[in-house]
Structures are given as structure tokens and as C-alpha cells.
């Protein structure tokens, strides 16, 4: 994990002092509401429906046990005892008081954490695959490049007042779990013609009102040019992105309106000017950042030891959890464990101070003191010895954290929605819960198999509904909450955007609608087909027919 040096610490202290001063001036009335707004947003602070909301950055999802314990303290001391993992690998708190924030930020700074650029029209937290560094199918660990991008984008003086927010994701694994193609910039590590590893860079992906997949702007960029290429893209965007209409201000609209070829030409012109500047990465810097993500002290262990096989044969509950929540690791004798935070009746992504402390203890005991937050709002213990899986599972069970539904339909993504968010048109948490209650039988969930269900309470799409195999969007119709259902979305390597099935439904109709859709899949699937495969083979028509036939 990256370790701050004196420079990083100094910048963080300066930022805390700066925001303390800004908050004081605002509370004294010396800074107007509108002038304070972008300053507080760039420090992660929203004013929400019920209270302020603070979004804390978790760079590319990595958290140490020390940081987890600090977050537990913050949940307990400044909030009502819980936080919320977001779809961008961050964590947010819904109840801190504005006047407490400078102290809260100072507490965070002690453990190398902050809320910088988690909101506002600037470059946000860079995200990546939660299996980075441990996945067996990885080309190279993406986290060191995420860290390089984090430093470049933090307090970037030129890009603090962009037309709109800007999100970057990096993916180094074959199976893309980072939703890379729906980011403003999506970066894939690839092998170039001469065998060197470099980057393929997509631009202009995004969800929201105008969902689009990113388009390739750089087919292959050498490692040393990562930052010069990003700087060139951002410069064209800052200069030319639309500022007349908030809904047309994302880079995806600029790319679309300019045309991909012309946009590429402009970026390349800019790139030529700065390619060989001091911004060109040095080999020393690449290896310095890489050194923070070298392998932990793995032991030489037998793969799939007999003890594990024995435990699996003896306990069906353990087997269920193992089959869903445990993934292969690059190192023999180790596994990747995902702790699923989607228990029925709990808002997806919600985590209590007790659970945060428990995660810290489990990370120390089983996984070299580190965890990763995933973009689907779960938490990964990346380096668990296979011979310890059973005792880890027992501990998770005793702490009610052994949900075995990872990747299944009830492991849904859901934004905070109208219960908390000032932007929402409709509630989303009760929809999630009603679906989880309808589908609470594990065998049935398992029979349905891999299915992503994503729920957003408004078209800003924090719940990524466009890329859910089934997507649900809350809409407001004359003051009443309705829900639009879409199908066929996917954030994987073969990313696709969902299609709306037809007229929206009332809240109480949704569980039955989902059941009908799943029923069509079950009666039409061929051997080995996941939900998305059957959908892609059949198209939307048979689903639509059944769903609306029932409604009539």
C-alpha cells in the first residue's frame, strides 16, 4: 500500500488548514454560499436532505486496518454509527455537522486519508479492479498507475474548475471488474507490438442522462507518456467542454459533438507540445510507485489443501459461501475473499462502526492488514490462506457478515436514493429491500445464477442502472415515484447499455416484474447460459411481452 512521505503529509496538512480557514470564513459570513460551494465540494462535503454528507476518498479502494479503525471511530464519534460504501470505492458519512468537519478531516489526515476531490467539477478518485495485484489473469498491477494518477490529479492547478466532474478508471486484469468503459477516461493495461506493457486509453464513457461507452483515443501509449496523454486530454476538455449547460458538460458530449477523429486530432496536437516535457514519467518514479505494491510475505503453501476439501465436504453453508464469495488467487494456497454487504434489510453498502472494526481485525488476522472496497459496494480480503478460509468464515458468520450472495441477484448495487440524497427523484433502498425479500431463497438465487441488478434513484445514475443486467431507475411522474426497468446492461469487458423495457411501474409492482423477467430467462436458457447470455440471444421482445401481458 502507498505510504505517505513528508511531501504528501505536508500537502494534506496544508489542505486541512486551508479548509479550516475557508469554513471559518463561511461561518462568519465572509464567504458567500456560492463561493463556498465549490470549495466544500472539492473537500467532499455535500449539503443533503437531512444533514451534510461527507464523502471520503479511498484511493482505488485500498484501506489499511488502521484506516478502517479510524473510519469506525468517525462513524461513532461524528456520525450515527455507520457509513456507506459508494459505487466509486469511496465511503461516505451522512450525519457529520459542518462545524465538526475541520476536526474530522484532521483526524483523517493522521491516517493518510482525506476527502479531497471526492466531489465538484474536478478529477475524482481514480478507481480500479478490486483484485488488482492478486488476480491470476493480471497483466500488471494497476494500483501503482492509479497512485501516479492520484498524485498528478490532486490539487492540479489547471483542472480544479472543469466544466463538470471527471472520473478515471484503470484496469490491468483480463476480466474487467472496474466498469472501465463507463468512465470519462478508461485505461486498460495492454501489451504493445514489441511486447512492452503500456496503456490503451478510452475517452468519453459515462452514465447519467446520456449513457455512452468510452471511445478509443490512444490505441497504445508507452508507460512514460501516461501523464502527458492525460494532461493533453484534460486540457482539450477544460478549454472546449461545454459550460453553458450542466447536462451537456461532461467530456462524452464534447467527444460526441466534436467527432471522435477531430477530438483525437486536437488531443494529439496538445500532446505533441508536452510529450517530452518534465511531465514525462521517469523509470525511477514508475518503480518507486510500484514498490509500494509489491507482494506481501506470502508463504509457500499447498494449493487446495486437504483440510479445506474436508471442511467443504462437511458443511453445506460453508460450501455455499465458498462457491460464491471466494475467488482464485495468483499465489498457490491463497484465495481472494469478498465480504458481501448486501444482507436483506440493510441498505446496500451500509457498514456499521462495529463492522468496520471487525473488518480491521479480520484484515490483520487473515490478510496482511489490508482490504479493498469494490465498486459494487462490497469489501475484499485479498490474501487469505486457503487453510484459514473456514475459520474466517466462522468469524464472519458470528459477526453477521457471511452473506453468501456475492454476484447473485440480491447482491445488488443501489444508490442512497430519496431517503438521503437531495438530487433523487425517488427512493431506491426500499426497492432493493423488496427485491431481496422476494428473492431470499439461496437455492433459488443460485439457480438463477449470475445476474447484476442495479438501482438508481435518479438519472444521475450513481447506482449504475444502465449497466445492470437488469436496471431500475426511479422517476418522478407528477409528484409520484415510478420505476423504469431496463435490461441487457453490462459493465464487463463486453460492456453494453441497458434498453428500457417499456412504461414505468409503481413501487409495489417491481418485485413481480423482476420475477416475471427472471421467469422468462429460466424457461428459455440453454445450458451454461447466464442471464445476460440468454438476453443477448433472445433480445428484449419475449421479456417485454410477458411483463406487460401480466400487467394487463
Amino acid at each position: 500500500m502507498y505510504q505517505y512521505d513528508n511531501y504528501d503529509h505536508q500537502m494534506l496538512r496544508d489542505r486541512v488548514a486551508q479548509f479550516r480557514d475557508q469554513t471559518a470564513r463561511y461561518l462568519e459570513g465572509k464567504l458567500s454560499e456560492s463561493e463556498f460551494l465549490p470549495l466544500r465540494l472539492q473537500n467532499g462535503l455535500y449539503i443533503q436532505r437531512l444533514a451534510p454528507m461527507l464523502r471520503i476518498a479511498v484511493p482505488y479502494g485500498m484501506l489499511s486496518s488502521i484506516q478502517l479503525r479510524k473510519l469506525a471511530y468517525i462513524a461513532n464519534h461524528y456520525d450515527k454509527g455507520y457509513g456507506h460504501f459508494t459505487t466509486r470505492q469511496n465511503i461516505q458519512f451522512n450525519w457529520p455537522a459542518l462545524e465538526d468537519l475541520p476536526d474530522l478531516l484532521a483526524d483523517l489526515a493522521e491516517v493518510e486519508m482525506h476527502a479531497i476531490q471526492t466531489s465538484g467539477n474536478c478529477i475524482r478518485n481514480t478507481t480500479t479492479d478490486q483484485f488488482a495485484g492478486v488476480a491470476p489473469d493480471e497483466l500488471e498491477d494497476s494500483r501503482s498507475y492509479c497512485e501516479i494518477i492520484r498524485q498528478w490529479s490532486s490539487f492540479h492547478p489547471e483542472f480544479a474548475f472543469l466544466p463538470r466532474k471527471f472520473k478515471i478508471a484503470v484496469c490491468g486484469t483480463k476480466i474487467d471488474q472496474a466498469a472501465t468503459q463507463v468512465h470519462d477516461i478508461g485505461i486498460y493495461l495492454i501489451t504493445g507490438a514489441d511486447g512492452e506493457v503500456g496503456f490503451r486509453i478510452l475517452v468519453g464513457g459515462g452514465l447519467g442522462r446520456t449513457p455512452i461507452l468510452g471511445k478509443e483515443v490512444f490505441e497504445f501509449v508507452e508507460k512514460k507518456h501516461l501523464l502527458t496523454a492525460l494532461d493533453a486530454i484534460l486540457r482539450v476538455y477544460n478549454r472546449e467542454g461545454r459550460r453553458d449547460n450542466k447536462y451537456k458538460a461532461r467530456i462524452k458530449i464534447l467527444v460526441k459533438e466534436t467527432g471522435l477523429e477531430e477530438f483525437k486530432r486536437k488531443v494529439n496536437l496538445e500532446w505533441e507540445l508536452i510529450k517530452d516535457s518534465s511531465l514525462q514519467l521517469t523509470e525511477e518514479e514508475i518503480s518507486r510507485c510500484g514498490s509500494f505494491f509489491s507482494d506481501p510475505a506470502y508463504q509457500q503453501l499447498e494449493d487446495q489443501p486437504d483440510t479445506l476439501k474436508q471442511q467443504l465436504s462437511e458443511n453445506i453453508l460453508f460450501t455455499n459461501w465458498y462457491e460464491q464469495n471466494v475467488n482464485p488467487h495468483k499465489k498457490a494456497g491463497y484465495s481472494i475473499v469478498t465480504v458481501c454487504f448486501k444482507a436483506t434489510g440493510v441498505a446496500p453498502g451500509d457498514v456499521s462502526d462495529i463492522q468496520l472494526n471487525a473488518l480491521a481485525d479480520l484484515a490483520d488476522k487473515y490478510s496482511f492488514g489490508e482490504v479493498r472496497v469494490t465498486h459494487d459496494q462490497n469489501v475484499v480480503l485479498a490474501d487469505v490462506q486457503q487453510q484459514e478460509l473456514h475459520s474466517l468464515w466462522q468469524e464472519l458468520q458470528s459477526k453477521a457478515m457471511a452473506s453468501q450472495n456475492l454476484g447473485l441477484m440480491s447482491d445488488l448495487i443501489c444508490c442512497p436514493g430519496g431517503d438521503f440524497c437531495a438530487l433523487a427523484n425517488a427512493k431506491s433502498i426500499p426497492i432493493a429491500e423488496s427485491i431481496q425479500r422476494k428473492f431470499d431463497d439461496f437455492d433459488e438465487l443460485k439457480n438463477i445464477g449470475k445476474l447484476s441488478l442495479n438501482i438508481s434513484g435518479c438519472m444521475n445514475a450513481c447506482g449504475h442502472h444502465h449497466v445492470g443486467n437488469i436496471g431500475i431507475l426511479g422517476v418522478d411522474k407528477k409528484g409520484e415515484e415510478f420505476y423504469q426497468v431496463s435490461m441487457g446492461g453490462s459493465s464487463s469487458n463486453e460492456a453494453s447499455l441497458g434498453k428500457i423495457i417499456g412504461p414505468a411501474f409503481a413501487q409495489e409492482e417491481i418485485p413481480d416484474v423482476i420475477e416475471t423477467i427472471v421467469g422468462v430467462y429460466k424457461s428459455n436458457r440453454e445450458t451454461g447460459e447466464d442471464f445476460i447470455d440468454t438476453y443477448r440471444r433472445l433480445g428484449i421482445a419475449p421479456f417485454k411481452e410477458k411483463v406487460y401481458a401480466k400487467a394487463d
Binding site: N121, A160, N238
Partner: protein
């Protein structure tokens, strides 16, 4: 006389910004002064500008790109970049392009909605004078230059990014 911050100190402003001008008559009406005129006026009336008895500088709005200035860029003692709203970030890019791509060495002045909390980033992008919005206290704004001791990126004062200085 209006105060401004220049090279890190509060000083008197000798320049007058001509916000709107349709033709060169305004120059004839106010001879011998230091005038910051709109880019377009400067481009359209070169002869009148040459004949002016005072000093001439130009200002660019945030939607005017610096490549429009053309080859006479280096004859200008000062270029002002406007912030129609403090949240409009385009002039940060213009300043960096002037300094880094076009090697402009004259004064780059921030005009318009110029506030205390943006001065630090502006200075890192190459602005060296700040005509603050009228309600800002120039003395109090001096503290902004010390908001951060250093940054990750390069700046005009620190031409190397931190990874080359570490």
C-alpha cells in the same frame, strides 16, 4: 487608484481595462494612458494601436484561446485573462499555454471574478498579477500564496513536477 497584487505584493494599478470597445475612437479620446484593450480591437485596428501614445496591453475572455493572439504576442507587456465567473476554469489553461507552450514572459494578469481562494492555483498556472474583485481585501489575500508549500505538479516557479524533485 485600484489596488492589485503583483509579484506577491500589493501595489497600485496603473492600467485601465477597456471592457467593451467597438472601435479605436476610445483610444483617441484617452491619449497617453496604459490601456488593456479587448483582443479583437487589438487585432482589427493595428494601425491605430501602433499610433497610440500610451501603452497597450490586451485582455482575453475565457472563450478566446491564446493561439488567436498571433506572432506579435511577445511585443505585449501584459496579457489579462478574464474570469467571467470564478468557477469558469478556462483561463487557467490559457495562462499555462502562454507560459509553457508560447514562452510568454510578460505579465499575465487575472481579471474579473478573481477571489482569494483561487489565487494559489492561478499563480501556479503562471499568473503574476491579480486584479481582485472589488470586495476582496488585497492585504488579506496575500496569505493565499502560502496555502500550500508545494504541489505534485510543475509550476512556473517549480518547473519540475514533484516526482522529479523527490
Amino acid at each position: 487608484m485600484q489596488k492589485l497584487i503583483k509579484n506577491g505584493v500589493v501595489s497600485n494599478d496603473n492600467w485601465t481595462v477597456l471592457k467593451v470597445a467597438s472601435g479605436p475612437e476610445v483610444l483617441q479620446a484617452a491619449p497617453g494612458k496604459a490601456m488593456i484593450i479587448p483582443l479583437q480591437l487589438w487585432k482589427d485596428f493595428r494601425e491605430e494601436v501602433e499610433e497610440y501614445t500610451g501603452s497597450i496591453a490586451i485582455w482575453l475572455d475565457s472563450n478566446e484561446t491564446v493561439d488567436r493572439i498571433g506572432p506579435d504576442l511577445h511585443t505585449l507587456p501584459l496579457i489579462a485573462l478574464n474570469f467571467p465567473a470564478f468557477s469558469d476554469g478556462r483561463s487557467y489553461t490559457s495562462a499555462r499555454e502562454l507560459r509553457e507552450s508560447l514562452n510568454y514572459e510578460g505579465e499575465i494578469r487575472a481579471i474579473g471574478d478573481v477571489l482569494r481562494d483561487q489565487i494559489y492555483y492561478m499563480s501556479r498556472c503562471g499568473f503574476d498579477s491579480f486584479a481582485l474583485r472589488h470586495d476582496q481585501d488585497p492585504e488579506a489575500c496575500l496569505a493565499a500564496f502560502k496555502d500550500f508549500k508545494t504541489g505534485y505538479q510543475s509550476s512556473v516557479a517549480e518547473p519540475l513536477p514533484l516526482f522529479r524533485r523527490r
